[in-house]
Symmetry: C2
Subunit: 152 residues, 2 copies
């Protein structure tokens, strides 16, 4: 499979952004490839050759993308190859999970607040307000996702 310059550029842009969130470069590129490719089903070798990855690297990236639910694969009768596909119907779920992680921080902040020395009143009040803000936002997020799901 040959990518246009534009496709390559988009794979890299998508990659760089996701690397900022801690994904390994190879995994970002594979995910990006699925998003820009002219077809929907990609084989192991196509991915490996198009992105110039090693076998191990390709295998690892695909494994991780499956574990994180970004891709899956189908098989075809009388054909040993796997046909990998990008899943796009899981973004509300993914986003929800993102907000759960956001909430985890708040959970720790609340624990910290409960254990603080009561003498630092002003700081404690400010921290309390932060946790209330985060509670509020988290809740609004869940409402927003519900609203979207009701509409669609």
């Amino acid at each position: 499979m040959v990518l246009t310059e534009k496709q390559k550029e988009l794979v890299e842009q998508f990659g760089v952004l996701n690397e900022k969130y801690g994904l390994p470069p190879a995994e970002c590129r594979v995910w990006g490839l699925f998003l820009v490719a002219d077809k929907v089903e990609l084989t192991f070798d196509e991915i490996m050759e198009t992105l110039n990855l090693s076998k191990g690297g390709t295998s690892n990236a695909l494994k991780r993308l499956q574990m994180t639910n970004h891709i899956d694969y189908i098989t075809k009768l009388g054909d040993k190859k796997r046909y990998f596909r990008c899943k796009l119907n899981n973004w509300t779920q993914m986003t929800k999970e993102n907000f759960e992680k956001f909430d985890e921080l708040n959970i720790i902040l609340k624990k910290i607040l409960r254990n603080r020395n009561s003498k630092t009143t002003s700081f404690n009040n400010d921290l309390k307000e932060v946790t209330e803000f985060l509670d509020f936002i988290y809740n609004e997020m869940l409402l927003a996702i519900n609203k979207w799901e009701a509409k669609n």
Copy 2:
């Protein structure tokens, strides 16, 4: 400054969580220390000694936390030392910036969508729906933050 076991535990928990978001361990611990400490103003040496960090490491962590607007410092007349403090009044701003980053991904997805081969109709429609969902959530987020700011 001596931390209780509970305080140490909270620093580590806060640290591990933030490391997941890509912050260096030392920086996470310094930030955490500010959150659990029994006092609000901490000096360079207190931080360094309490967390067993090197001078360079401490300096670097403090620099980064200042750049990201999590801490600042005050000085006192006839005293060369800096008194570092954790800022808690910037969380709505921080949260807003987080959502901007979230929106960056959507911006790339929209670019990708515009460049896709029109033959993969179903995939393209799914991708379009993802971008619409992300648009919707981003917008709801901004509304939620405004709502909070109006209330407070």
